[in-house]
């Protein structure tokens, strides 16, 4: 018998055999097993993040610098030419990354703080609190989002913060629903009951008992919601009520240069120009979705 323990002892009971690893080691193991689509997504996001963060150093010209000739062709001093009032397209693309991604990120964070917090409260308190919050959310969700946002923006005017707050509030409804649904499953656990029996306050129960256990689906949702917010902002900018000039952003860049497409038979490269910001939007959305897919697959416990 290879087993020296002949009788029972509490420390010798068979638990899950596991080696201690730091967070970094575990992340690295996961990363090595990630599918190519997720790797692609991560690389794309990293590149975008790099350009967004270091826009001031990477971009050759300022985003509002219109000191050049209008509609200059590709090549030479202007890699991707200039637009209708002589601003460097390449520089504006880079600054657009900073502005659009930055605003979308802030908006998503606010919508998660708001929707997630209220969702948790609704799940813990139940009863009237839950009922009132859920019905308010139902009302907000009943109105088509883009149209509602358009209306609000035309009432309050489109300042950057106005844009952020309006989209964050509208988007927080979906976050609320998810947060409420996943925490409902956690709230009924005995450890939450144990915390209540101990006399813990609402804040502790939310932060320490429930939040860590709903984090994986919430993180996945964060990626997804970010994509949608990003698309909404681009759409609003395209319609002219989003991010206002001279701030560069991809939605309005598509609108401003859209007419160039008509001249494709004279200048093919020029005609591609309005498609570049559109492509940038599409690529980031796809990349984020790849990563979210992988993450959801990991956390939902599905095995192939």
């Amino acid at each position: 018998m290879s087993d020296p323990e002949q009788t029972y002892s509490a420390t010798a009971e068979v638990g899950q055999i596991r080696r201690r690893r730091s967070r970094l080691e575990r992340a690295w193991i996961e990363l090595k097993k990630a599918p190519p689509s997720a790797i692609f997504g991560l690389v794309v996001i990293a590149i975008y993040a790099f350009f967004a963060i270091f826009a001031h150093w990477v971009a050759p010209y300022g985003q509002a610098d219109s000191s050049f000739g209008a509609y200059l062709p590709w090549g030479g001093a202007h890699l991707l030419g200039t637009d209708q009032i002589g601003r460097d397209i390449y520089s504006r693309l880079i600054f657009g990354a900073q502005n659009t991604i930055g605003i979308a990120l802030v908006t998503t964070i606010i919508s998660f703080a708001l929707g997630g917090g209220l969702g948790l409260i609704a799940a813990i308190m139940r009863g009237w609190t839950d009922l009132i919050l859920a019905r308010m959310v139902d009302v907000l969700m009943a109105i088509p989002g883009l149209i509602f946002a358009l209306m609000l923006l035309s009432i309050f005017g489109s300042s950057t913060w106005g844009l952020i707050i309006i989209i964050a509030v509208l988007d927080s409804t979906r976050v609320f629903r998810l947060a409420r649904a996943v925490s409902m499953n956690v709230v009924v656990m005995e450890y939450v009951e144990a915390a209540r029996l101990r006399g813990e306050k609402l804040g502790w129960v939310m932060r320490r008992e429930i939040l860590p256990n709903i984090l994986p689906p919430m993180v996945a949702e964060f990626g997804l919601r970010f994509s949608f917010v990003f698309l909404t902002i681009a759409a609003l900018s395209f319609l002219g009520v989003g991010i206002q000039p001279p701030t560069a952003d991809w939605g309005s860049m598509v609108r401003e240069n859209a007419t160039l497409i008509q001249f494709a038979k004279y200048d093919l490269k020029g005609a591609i120009t309005p498609l570049l910001p559109a492509g940038a939007i599409a690529l980031l959305t796809v990349a984020v979705n790849f990563v979210v897919d992988w993450f959801l697959h990991k956390t939902s416990g599905l095995k192939e």
Partner: protein, 555 residues
């Protein structure tokens, strides 16, 4: 009924069954499991032989590899496991090398599996009978009509009420015990050669367990089926098995015929398993009551009244066990005491002063004095908190300990529950069942309570682990002088730990008194049923009991 078969299958347990030919022979079977990025051996080269008509009991503590071996006998491994080496010969076929599609033809038709949780094993969207006959239809030797007729016969053999009709119900329309028997019927439907029972009665009440055991044993004998019976309950295995194999850490410790194994176990580990029910406590009482429940009625929502005029008194420093089957209001009583469910009438006195009915009105000191330990340690601890955080929180919250002082006290508590400092930064998922429950005990003790409510704290654990936990609780009571309310349906636990017993039935207290009084005749009718249903470590216990109950001497 044993005469129905006539070929010696009903000849009685442990006697003369070696004449059947070998159905299953496992040689040096090794099964690996993948976890933590590596392959680990779960089963380390086990041999197993099973003859037709024979029942083999597999016992061992959790993590011993019982279920893995039981499934392995069918050539099946759970996802994340693999059959590494060895030979599994089932009726002349080698299962380890057999392609998955071939094995699938055997599963359900020639081998069947009865899981611990029948509720999880039935598809809620289909009628019982459709699921029962599925395998027979797949086997293809019966028409649907014939298969249904056979299923109804099996329901009758399983002593299900109204056998002709019950199959047309959905799983949620029958009780847990009935579902477990329906599942056995489902396993038997295609007349398989081998059935693997994986803890089929663990989730049941003792009173229900007796019925299920009896009908399983009878069905196995009637059809001369070979069976592997996996359990951690020694008394149950003594009723069911012809031979017993003891597993530990994936290795065989000992195998012998049931009677021999019970009488003269050889291996020290087996001996320690057998000595489990050795705790005995002299009951004492006390006129100084720490908790008094007076005339409590309680209801969920508006209509459903659960408790009717419940009166219970808990003497200081003593243990009161509340017993009764599920649905008798035991746990609801606990919820009233803790304030989770304010009573609709009556009051709860703690140290002579009434406690506020609702949790929110209670002060921190009042909450501190009453702590609770749950049945499922798994769900009672936050999976994202480390052991140090779990035990440390009440220290910080009630006693204001921080930093070094807190850490020192956590360590002290860990030692008190017979664990060491290597457990400090583990997560609950890295602990065994017994260790988890110990951590829960430490968390309760950390608050320095006067009363601890233990809600079925040992019923999810193996017997040997149970004994460890009960001993620990007794020791803590001696050292700290806490009082316990012990909610359980396990009479053996009650015997071991209690001073006084409260018997509950359908939300009412049937009787309360000293253990010695309650456990001695004359009993009220219900107490009698409850007490007589507890399996004993005597292989003839079930037969004798059934004989006594039917009053005829033969089934």
């Amino acid at each position: 009924m044993s005469a129905a078969n006539g070929t010696g299958a009903g000849a009685g347990k442990g006697a003369g069954k070696n004449g059947g030919d070998v159905l299953l022979r496992m040689t040096d079977v090794v099964i690996d499991g993948f976890s933590d990025e590596r392959w680990h051996e779960i089963i380390k080269g086990v041999n197993l032989t099973l003859r037709r008509g024979e029942v083999l009991g597999l016992i061992g503590e959790s993590g011993a590899g019982k279920s893995t071996l039981g499934l392995g006998a069918m050539g099946f491994v759970r996802p994340g496991c693999r059959l590494t080496s060895g030979e599994i010969m089932f009726d002349g076929m080698e299962l380890r090398q057999m392609p998955e599609r071939e094995k699938q033809k055997l599963w359900g038709t020639r081998m069947a599996y009865v899981a611990q949780s029948a509720a999880a094993a039935f598809n809620p969207a289909h009628r019982l009978i459709d699921q029962t006959i599925e395998a027979s239809l797949r086997k293809g030797d019966l028409s649907p009509k014939e298969a249904e007729a056979r299923a109804i016969d099996l329901y009758r053999a399983m002593q299900l009420p109204d056998p002709a009709e019950i199959g047309y119900r959905y799983p949620h329309q029958v009780s847990g015990g009935q579902l477990q028997r329906a599942m056995t019927a489902m396993a038997m439907a295609a007349h398989p050669d081998l059935i693997v029972f994986d803890e089929p009665t663990t989730a049941l009440d003792v009173t229900t367990q007796v019925e299920v055991l009896a009908s399983m044993r009878e069905a196995v004998e009637q059809f001369n089926t070979a069976a592997i019976y996996i359990t951690h309950d020694l008394a149950v295995v003594a009723q069911m098995a012809d031979r017993i194999k003891v597993l530990r850490y994936g290795e065989e410790m000992e195998e012998a015929e049931t009677r021999k194994m019970l009488k003269a176990p050889e291996h020290p580990y087996t001996k320690s398993l057998w000595s489990v029910r050795s705790i005995a406590k002299e009951p004492e009482t006390n006129e100084d009551y720490i908790l008094q429940i007076e005339g409590v009625d309680a209801a969920y929502g508006k209509g459903l009244k659960i408790l009717h005029d419940v009166n219970i008194a808990v003497p200081r420093g003593r243990t009161v066990a509340i017993v009764g089957e599920s649905g008798s209001g035991k746990s609801t009583t606990a919820r009233v005491i803790t304030g989770l469910l304010p009573p609709s009438a009556g009051r709860v006195l703690f140290n002579g002063t009434p406690l506020p009915a609702a949790l929110k009105q209670r002060r921190k000191e009042q909450l501190q004095k009453i702590q609770m330990i749950y049945q499922m340690a798994d769900t009672a601890m936050n999976p994202r908190h480390s052991v140090a955080e779990i035990i440390g929180r009440p220290l910080e919250f009630y006693l204001g300990l921080r930093g070094r002082a807190k850490e020192a006290r956590v360590l002290e508590l860990l030692q008190m529950i017979e664990l060491d400092e290597s457990f400090m930064d583990r997560l609950p998922s890295e602990l065994s069942g017994g260790q988890k429950q110990r951590i829960c005990i430490a968390r309760a003790v950390a608050a320095e309570p006067e009363l601890i409510i233990c809600d079925e704290v040992t019923s999810a654990l193996d017997q040997i682990v149970q004994e460890g936990i009960l001993k620990l609780l007794l020791k803590l009571q001696q050292d700290l002088g806490v009082s316990y309310i012990f909610i359980t349906h396990d009479i053996a636990t009650v015997q071991a730990i209690s001073d006084e017993i409260v018997v509950m039935l359908q939300g009412r207290v049937v009787e309360q008194g000293l253990k010695t009084e309650i456990m001695h005749p004359p009993y009220p009718e219900y107490t009698e049923l409850l007490l007589s249903s507890v399996p004993e470590m005597d292989p003839d216990w079930l037969s004798n009991l059934l004989a006594a109950r039917t009053g005829t001497g033969d089934l």
